[in-house]
């Protein structure tokens, strides 16, 4: 299978602070990967480095074989929209919410890129099949929704586009177990052809047996298995 994401020797962090050290990480098409680790060990920073919300100091990140970073120092976020258009869909930790938009407009934002805008109605329908509670809330302001509904909107926004790589950061964070299980369930209901998904989680049990492989993250480095990261 071709590689969707290929990271080699990535070192990244915030200003002088190094959070990720020499990361090598590959994800193949059709794969579902669980990235587990405690708070503060670099899961979110890795996702944010891939989407260029965090600048990186050295290394290379390739999306579908194409270099998406380069090493020239540009302000964080400058390349993000371009990377998204190249096939990245990311749900950041704590949800990217537009509180003053309705659920429908919020989902439309996800179909913003490429040709997706023309078929946003159909895509919205698909997302609402995945998250049925959203159907009734179509005209509600996102800022008035509950935490679980916001998570559905946030994840749904990322699902509006035909991406090749989905990065989902802690989909269970702050949700009741039943609701987080349904969000994870919805993520796994997506077909795997032509796409890959990486889910960062602290709740190993939610992913066990459902992802193709699980990688532990500890102190800014990847560990081959989960046993080393202190979650079990």
């Amino acid at each position: 299978m071709p590689e969707v994401l290929s990271i080699t020797g990535l070192t990244a962090g915030y200003g002088p602070l190094r959070v990720l050290h020499e990361i090598d990480f590959n994800v193949e098409e059709g794969e579902r990967v669980g990235l587990v680790g405690l708070n503060g060990h670099g899961k979110t920073t890795l996702f944010r480095a891939v989407s260029h919300l965090v600048g990186w100091q050295s290394g290379s990140i390739k999306l579908n074989g194409e270099e998406i970073g380069g090493t020239r120092s540009l302000g964080p976020g400058r390349r993000t929209s371009g990377i998204v258009r190249k096939g990245l869909a990311m749900t950041p930790q704590g949800d990217a919410i537009f509180p003053g938009l309705t659920v429908r407009q919020h989902l439309d934002c996800g179909a913003y890129s490429r040709l997706a805008w023309r078929e946003r109605r159909r895509r919205r329908d698909t997302v609402m099949d995945i998250f049925p509670p959203l159907r009734k809330l179509e005209d509600a302001l996102v800022g008035k929704l509950s935490g679980g509904e916001r998570r559905m909107v946030s994840v749904g926004r990322a699902l509006m586009v035909e991406a090749s790589l989905y990065l989902v950061d802690e989909p269970s964070l702050g949700l009741a177990p039943k609701i987080s299980a349904s969000v994870i369930e919805a993520l796994f209901s997506l077909p795997t052809e032509g796409r890959a998904m990486v889910i960062a989680e602290q709740n190993v049990a939610l992913l066990t047996g459902r992802v193709d492989r699980m990688i532990g993250m500890h102190a800014g480095r990847l560990r081959g298995d989960v046993g080393h990261v202190g979650l079990e």
Binding site: L53, S81, M90, C109
Partner: protein, 309 residues
Amino acid sequence: MDILGTIIHGLNLAAIYGLMAIGISILWSSVGMINMAHGATFAVSGYAAWIVAGAAKPLIAAAFGKTLMAKLAMAGVTVGAGTLAGALFGAIIYLLAFLPIHDKPNFAVRSLIVTLAINLATVQILLWFFGPRQRGLPKLFGFGKFEILGVPIRYDQAGAILSTAIILGLVLFWLRVSRKGLEIRAMMQNPEGAVLSGISVRWTALPVTMLTGALAGLAAILLSQTIFVSPTAGALPLIKGLTIALLGGLGSVPGAVAGAVVIGFLEATVGALPFLGQRYVLFAQFLFIITVLIIRPRGLGGLLDETRE
């Protein structure tokens, strides 16, 4: 004190300040820039309208004579030149104060300094070219007044109030329904979420700076119906616009509209009170704004906001 007359005067001021304040507010919340050059945009638009109107006058007179058509053509040319100049100056601000520094640390402070510099430089350039003399713009709405329920309303007052209401209505409608509008609103509410949706900050900032510049240009044309165009004419509208945007809770469009109405009425009332008068207007406004911000730090926008963060 003539209460109804004061209300009309207040609405007139609210319309003009509102155009400035909404521009400042939208630009702050979507692009993250406090545009101190908004006053320069105001003055440049006034001069552009004055030059174009002066050049077009003989042509229009030759084509239409002294008919109603001539008046309409003159008004169209003046408003068009003013708003177009405002939009173009907005694009210059984008090129100088946004594009080179928008991804650098402390962009908000840097852009504040750069736009302040643009403002000062532009005023000096205008002084150099045109001198301090005041210029009058053609009267768009003609001279005279009419009465509604016994209240005399000058044509220019009615014109300013109506045209502002229509233009602002159109802009807000466009923000609500168009794809570009959705893009701008997404960026106003969550810049990080917007870039993660594939919205490019650089390409969205250009129409925003041009739109807010055009609004300042329109404000310049409307205010120049009452006062004259001069190099420093933008200073007071800039201060009023900034304070109203702050009062409305920077970034809230409904807050800015409410703030403009409140400040417009306050100015009209203080100016009309026999024992206070015009010279206490700014004093009273700042006192009011400080008091509101102490009690409601998020400004009026916080009261109008029905969602939570």
